[in-house]
């Protein structure tokens, strides 16, 4: 296995371990969009575990750096994308972590439906942007 693939697998297993720890020791689901939305609403009281989780989430990247990253869009589309991600994940009650990792690990049919929905729509969007007739590329 190349280093890239093994890092992808080990990284995934770390993500799963984080979700397992949060479930087993905090009794909470590691859904980032839900945690972030609630954290935005209020920084204290019931939200303390959310703030702690989000702080921990950022520590590795802050310490080791992000590595090479490349944004695919200009600022206006990044803003639009962020808005759709924020609104869509709350309407659909979950994102890649809540439905894609935790929901599938919980053998949830509901999360499988959500995951299929966002995966296929995301792939179709990438197809339109990269291979379609849209005026911009990613």
């Amino acid at each position: 296995m190349t280093a890239d693939l093994s890092n992808a697998l080990w990284g995934g297993m770390l993500i799963g371990a984080g979700a397992a720890v949060l479930l087993l020791l905090n009794g909470k689901i590691a859904g980032i969009s839900g945690i972030a939305e609630n954290a935005v609403r209020g920084l204290f009281g019931e939200n303390r575990w959310r703030i702690a989780f989000l702080l921990g989430l950022l520590i590795p990247a802050a310490v080791f750096g992000l590595g090479p990253i490349q944004f695919a869009q200009g600022l206006p589309l990044l803003g639009v994308s962020g808005f759709l991600v924020g609104f869509g994940t709350r309407l659909g009650s979950g994102c890649t972590s809540g439905h894609g990792v935790c929901g599938l690990a919980n053998l949830s049919l509901r999360s499988l439906a959500a995951t299929l929905s966002f995966m296929t729509v995301a792939a179709a969007t990438v197809y339109l942007v990269r291979h379609g007739a849209l005026p911009w590329r990613s």
Binding site: L9, G18, L22, F53, A72, S93, A122, A124
Partner: protein, 138 residues
């Protein structure tokens, strides 16, 4: 204690996102671009995460408590409605545009780029739009 365990879970989760390079938008887009030069590595990330988290969810599903014996209700596993599918589809459009989902979006902030700030502002705007829409519906 809840603060410490949530912080630890966050560190594990954030390390996984970093190691798997989920926070590189171009890498995510190349995973979603099934018609182009498809890079399947992130399927390993998702699979690894689900496999590691699954036993923890099995434990809680059977006993309805976490390891500290605190009652731990899990989300409904079967309710599939229009809101779930439409919300996930809207998220899919946003994710397909930029290659950024909520967790990596927050990680990107540590790079201090304007792009990451714009994305996260858009995402928080999406959260707030959803919250105010939900409030208005009541």
């Amino acid at each position: 204690l809840a603060f410490v365990t949530a912080f630890l879970a966050g560190i594990l989760f954030g390390s996984g996102l970093l190691l798997s390079r989920m926070c590189d938008p171009q890498r995510v887009l190349s995973f979603l671009d099934v018609a182009g030069r498809w890079n399947p590595a992130l399927a390993l990330t998702m699979g690894g995460a689900v496999i590691v988290a699954a036993p923890a969810f099995y434990y809680v599903r059977q006993r309805h408590v976490d390891l500290l014996c605190a009652p731990t209700p899990l989300p409904d596993r079967f309710k599939i409605n229009r809101r779930l599918i439409a919300g996930s589809a809207i998220f899919g459009i946003g994710w397909g545009l930029s290659g950024i989902c909520p967790g990596p979006g927050l990680l990107l902030l540590t790079g201090g780029t304007v792009q990451s700030v714009i994305f996260v502002c858009g995402m928080v705007g999406g959260f707030l739009a959803f919250v105010s829409r939900a409030d208005a519906a009541q």
